[in-house]
Symmetry: C2
Subunit: 193 residues, 2 copies
DNA sequence: CTGCGGATGTGTACAATGCCCACATTAAAG
DNA sequence: CTTTAATGTGGGCATTGTACACATCCGCAG
């Protein structure tokens, strides 16, 4: 397809840079991603990426945007996998699981200034959170709605952040999921009744 | 005292580097902190810091350690400021308030690999969390203790992360504190007994 | 007091990086 | 076919992290 032409022009360097950058990020930490390394991996000169991204932050923002879309899709998928009471648990597990599976990307999405400064990334983040909010909206009486929504969101995000930071350890994935279930049910059980 | 001698030797360069680095971090984002800028601010040659920190990550870890100690102290102080039921609310407000007041440092503490790799920093983080854990221990029956502790911690940490990310807005500090109180009381209020 | 050794700070150096500029190539619009 | 804008190349610059060799100084043994 697009890989069959080694000519002067790449074909879709923009996308190639994005995937190269995501690969690099997955292989190491944030410092592994340099514009020049991305260019090398895409088989292109060090400056070529600048034709598609005004600066490094723009590339990082594009990566974060992709990350938010993937996270959103994972949440939506989890939301369809169970009956009502379990849905939020599954979404929490999916949220944390995404972080575990893509730690450096997760850190980029929530830790790097670029996600705040780029409107496209902020929009993707908002979309992602809207999925959580919709589910939470079905779980609680109206008068507690706002506080509960905020709390549930914070709970899930905090779980993810702490697990990613190694502050909460688990032997394997299923132990982790069990822990998440236990925590979420304990915390939400208090509110539900 | 130690600032009165402009001679060849600095006196306490180790501490000077730490405070210079913390100043730089407070003035901008993480990228503002370069070893060379730290050296400049301390009025010393670019390589002098290497006599006290083996590499840049070691300096960052020292900064994170300091951050955890300050956060711990803020939590301990909050814990003494009210009667039993309010203590956890005040601790949550202090936790988020620390993040608001030191966003870049907070990001370092919870986002950067150095806090995982340096034992001293990990220890400081554990100490900090122990303060939260102790308070939580008084709020809940033993069989729910683990899940509740994790949940409460995640809740507070998630609140801080979301507020810092601009995902939860508040007009001013007292509106923010009110929101935190509302969320915390909703999530764990009626279980106190 | 002398001189000596280890701790601390300086200088030079190098590779890598982000980014700027001028130039080359090419695909597509006229 | 010609022109033109998009895309990729090459060279260059300042900054950064860090290694190595040298300078300076504090404290201690004689």
């Amino acid at each position: 397809m697009s890989t069959s032409k080694p000519g002067y022009h790449h074909g879709d360097l923009r996308a190639a840079c994005l995937t190269a950058a995501l690969e690099l990020l997955a292989e190491g930490d944030a410092s592994t991603v340099s514009l020049r390394a991305v260019a090398r991996r895409a088989g292109v000169s060090p400056n070529a990426p600048y034709r598609h991204y005004p600066d490094k932050d723009a590339l990082l923002a594009a990566m974060a945007t992709r990350g938010f879309h993937d996270l959103r899709d994972a949440l939506i998928h989890a939301d369809t996998q169970a009956a009502d009471e379990d849905r939020f648990v599954l979404m929490a597990q999916a949220y944390v699981g995404f972080g575990i599976g893509n730690p450096a990307l997760f850190g980029l999405m929530f830790g790097h200034p670029c996600s705040r400064n780029h409107p496209e990334t902020s929009a993707a983040a908002a979309e992602t959170m809207a999925v959580l909010a919709e589910r939470v909206g079905t779980l609680v009486p109206a008068e507690q709605h706002d506080a509960f929504l905020t709390g549930a969101w914070a709970l899930v995000h905090g779980l993810a952040a702490l697990v990613m930071d190694g502050k909460l350890a688990a032997d394997d994935r299923s132990a982790l999921d069990a822990m998440i279930r236990s925590v979420v049910e304990t915390m939400l059980g208090r509110v539900a009744h």
